[in-house]
Symmetry: C2
Subunit: 532 residues, 2 copies
């Protein structure tokens, strides 16, 4: 079976995306996760360009990776100096990686308009930079920036730059569609010309998605013999993003019979995709191929009936192969079949006659109709299950709260204050707190009231708070769904609330968060429930 | 120049998407918009399947379309009856469209597991259904459902179904990748076989995006000679969606020299894309190729400098060709160049020495840093501009407000009440209102106070209210951005507010909304500012 290397550039090219930012600590966590998945190369950054990237290479050296090789990325040396004097090449070597990827210019307009040097001088930069790095590094790759646009504009020159890269000692020539403007048929044409000129040099592909064909361009290159595919998780990247590895990997493994991950790792794909989105606080795209929440969701009644008889009728793969799952959208179906599917979805051991399970399912259906959503709020779901099974314990009782938000003039920020009365085991507590906004005031007051009775709540922080206005035309009276993620230093758990009143919705999610913490403490539970 | 027909199925297959729903009135508005764009065929629905679709066909007959033909979609007749007795075929004819698209089964497992009839009987259904419709309709298309999967499983049978469709009188055979599981190389292989068998029959393509290659599959089919491409706007559709016409259209027109819209219409693409998303209350995907907000956004300093010299260096097309625009992400750059770009973005006539313009730009930069975002809030932006130019008029002064949200027991919804004091031209008004939640109470109180002085505010409704928690790790104290869209029966306008306090953020957006309405009334302005 043929094998192709996967080269991930989420940490470098991916972070060029608008609204996708990772801290140094996040970058380390992503690298370890990608290593665990079995990615071959992880491009950590451009050490010459910013201090965060330099910090990454220093830090990652403290970890022993299982499989992946970390690579450092950088440009050819400055035209005004020599390789051995060039700060950028120096930074690349200082990153102390086993692999370096150097990029150079293939397109004449870039040589003239961006570098502002002669075409001949650019050829020297490519060869000399690579030749200088060559003895100092185990593996050396060459990214031919704008190769396809360059080839269209001046095929001879574009091929000449590759010639110099080979002379300089590059082991693999990665052909880049940097602007994402090329279609698969042209990828084929250009790549054929490269293969005729360099029949024995390994090639790679680096595609961007500006024409919505980055995945197809990458697959085309593999079909033609490319041995390396560069891309990012979830397709993040500048403008419309890079080629999406979450699509390329399963297309290669499951459809084209090309190996790239160990077979048992492909089913981790969805969880790694989600992990990265969560770290970057990016909302997932529910329609994302393979790993999206809707990727195996069936809505039409005809489709559901057919999938029930034979899943292949409307599913191109078994969703479990990529760690995803089938969903039947309950609103469109009814009766026992729908209920049984919903039970499967939540892993409820349902003999179809069990009255408790049926009651729970009825509740879920009703709550989802109201706008609740349990995928990211498994703690709320588990509490609901417990309640239906009579295992619910009340840790406190609310007597009442009042939240006041007062603005005293046009130029002053309002002041938010919450008062609260709760009862715990016969004892009443009446207290008050201020906050940054009314939700925060209520949150502070509730914690203040309860920490007296349950000191373990002091260690709980809210690691995420999300508000979604539910579709409707009610303006400021619209329903909102609040999702809260809590963290106690060890476990993450998600809870949900829905109401026309944002304070009530937040209250529901806060109460579930606290109840779940107390429930975990009593059970001595070790398993997190972050819904990811 | 070669021409290909565009067949839009946003209103039929598109509405199978999770979370994408259009009312009957919305469907009419979308159809008119697509007609205006110059789409050839607009599939309005499946009249046999639900009353909303039937209503669409009745309603759309009242409009005279400029170019598009409305098509009705339906299945082959029920195996237990004859065509002339079949309710589904009857409903198709009752839709009274000039075009009908009939779909049939190409894949043996569907015939056996879904229809549960013999392979021979399925062939009869296809031929007889089409032959029955043929004399009653101007144009008749055949959608070969699951053609590619069917061809892989049993090529002879799949081709036999097409044979029957041709016998029945179909004018175009549309090959469907219904499950979205096929890659471009297989599309090519199967289509070649079809062309060998039916060298003179026009072919079309209908692709789904489950493998992230729906656009590439569609382009491949066009390369091979397909004369019709089916898809949806923004790629909405069941599971991962249909082939995205927002990508296919510019790829055809701008890259492949294949005509499909009138040249001057392509630049409407972005606004039609946004219009449909807004009607469906779907958040736009900022990374969407061609039409997304980030599609021509440049972040890296190197890229910005190069684009400044020559846009082709990092842009595959001129963004104006599809109605989009270039953006430089201000955070990453500095100095005069950045300021000038920001001015261009907002259309400010800036001589680089104008102190007012420079002051405005400084404010925008600061506000964007705080989390304000003006693309969907052009009314707020225009007010800001007016203030800087000294043209700002105060329509009222806030003396103070207080919002109280009180919950009296665990099972009761809280009660929200707002009190407010404002001054208008020396007169003070002190009033109060209840609401569904605290934001709504404040909204109600403010309107109540001001409508006394400005009766024109009575006609203003809030047509949309959105809350976004800005990235950060502050839990319930996170900053939120509120976007409000207002409508006065004629104009739409968007306003924005940002604060740690959701009431304060909503307040800012509400105040801007009211000020903008008053400003428009005074100017007698006719132009909407909905930022779309």
């Amino acid at each position: 079976m043929r094998r192709v290397s996967i080269y991930d550039t989420t940490l470098r090219d991916g972070t060029q995306a608008e609204d996708f930012n990772l801290s140094l600590a996040d970058k380390i966590r992503v690298a370890l996760k990608l290593d665990d998945l079995g990615i071959d190369y992880i491009e950590g950054g451009w050490p010459g360009s910013n201090p965060k990237d330099q910090g990454f290479f220093e830090e990652i050296r403290n970890y022993e990776l299982k499989h992946a090789k970390i690579t450092a990325f950088g440009a050819t040396h400055h035209p005004g100096t020599r390789p051995e004097k060039d700060a950028n090449l120096r930074a690349l070597l200082d990153a102390k990686t086993r692999v370096i990827t150097l990029f150079g210019k293939s397109w004449t307009i870039h040589v003239k308009d961006a570098l502002k040097i002669s075409l001949e001088r650019n050829l020297e930069l490519i060869r000399d930079s690579l030749a200088y790095l060559r003895p100092h590094v185990e593996t050396l790759f060459y990214d031919a920036e704008h190769f396809f646009d360059g080839f269209r504009a001046d095929p001879d020159y574009a091929l000449a730059t590759l010639e110099k890269a080979v002379e300089g000692g590059a082991e693999c020539l990665i052909l880049c569609d940097t602007n994402g403007g090329n279609l698969p048929s042209f990828i084929e044409e250009a790549m054929r010309a490269v293969q005729q000129r360099f029949p024995h040099v390994p090639l790679g592909i680096h595609a961007h998605n500006d024409s919505d064909v980055a995945v197809a361009n990458s697959l085309k290159a593999v079909e033609m013999g490319a041995v390396q595919v560069q891309g990012t998780f979830n397709g993040v990247g500048e403008r419309c993003g890079n080629a999406n590895l979450c699509s390329i990997i399963p297309n290669l493994c499951l459809k084209m019979n090309v190996a790239c991950l160990e077979p048992d790792r492909v089913k981790k794909l969805r969880s790694v995709s989600r992990f990265i989105l969560e770290l970057a606080n990016m909302p997932p795209n529910r329609y994302q191929p393979y790993v999206g929440r809707s990727a195996f969701a069936h809505k039409g009644g005809v489709h559901i009936a057919a999938v029930e008889r034979n899943p292949a009728t409307y599913e191109h793969i078994n969703p479990e192969q990529v760690g995803n799952r089938r969903r039947f959208l309950i609103s469109e179906v009814s009766g026992k079949a729908a209920v049984r599917y919903k039970a499967d979805e939540y892993g409820i051991p349902l003999s179809s006659t069990d009255p408790v399970a049926l009651e729970v399912l009825k509740q879920i259906k009703e709550l989802e109709y109201q706008g609740y959503q349990f995928e990211a709020a498994e703690a709320s779901f588990e509490l609901l299950l417990n309640r239906a099974m009579g295992r619910y314990k009340r840790y406190f009782e609310l007597i009442g709260f009042r939240v006041v938000d007062q603005k005293m003039s046009e130029d002053e920020e309002p002041v938010s204050e919450a008062t609260i009365r709760v009862r715990v085991g016969g004892q009443e507590e009446h207290t008050a707190a201020l906050g940054h906004g009314p939700v925060n005031a209520l949150d502070n007051a509730l914690r203040k009231a309860l920490e007296k009775f349950y000191p373990e709540l002091k260690g709980v922080e809210l690691s995420d708070y999300k508000v979604r206005v539910l579709p409707g035309k009610e303006g400021t009276a619209s329903k909102v769904r609040v999702l809260i993620e809590s963290f106690d230093g060890k476990e993450h758990w998600g809870t949900v609330g829905v109401s026309h009143d944002i304070l009530e919705a937040s209250w529901q999610a806060l109460v579930d968060s606290i109840n779940y913490k107390m429930y975990m403490s009593e059970q001595g539970k070790g398993k997190g429930r972050n819904g990811s």
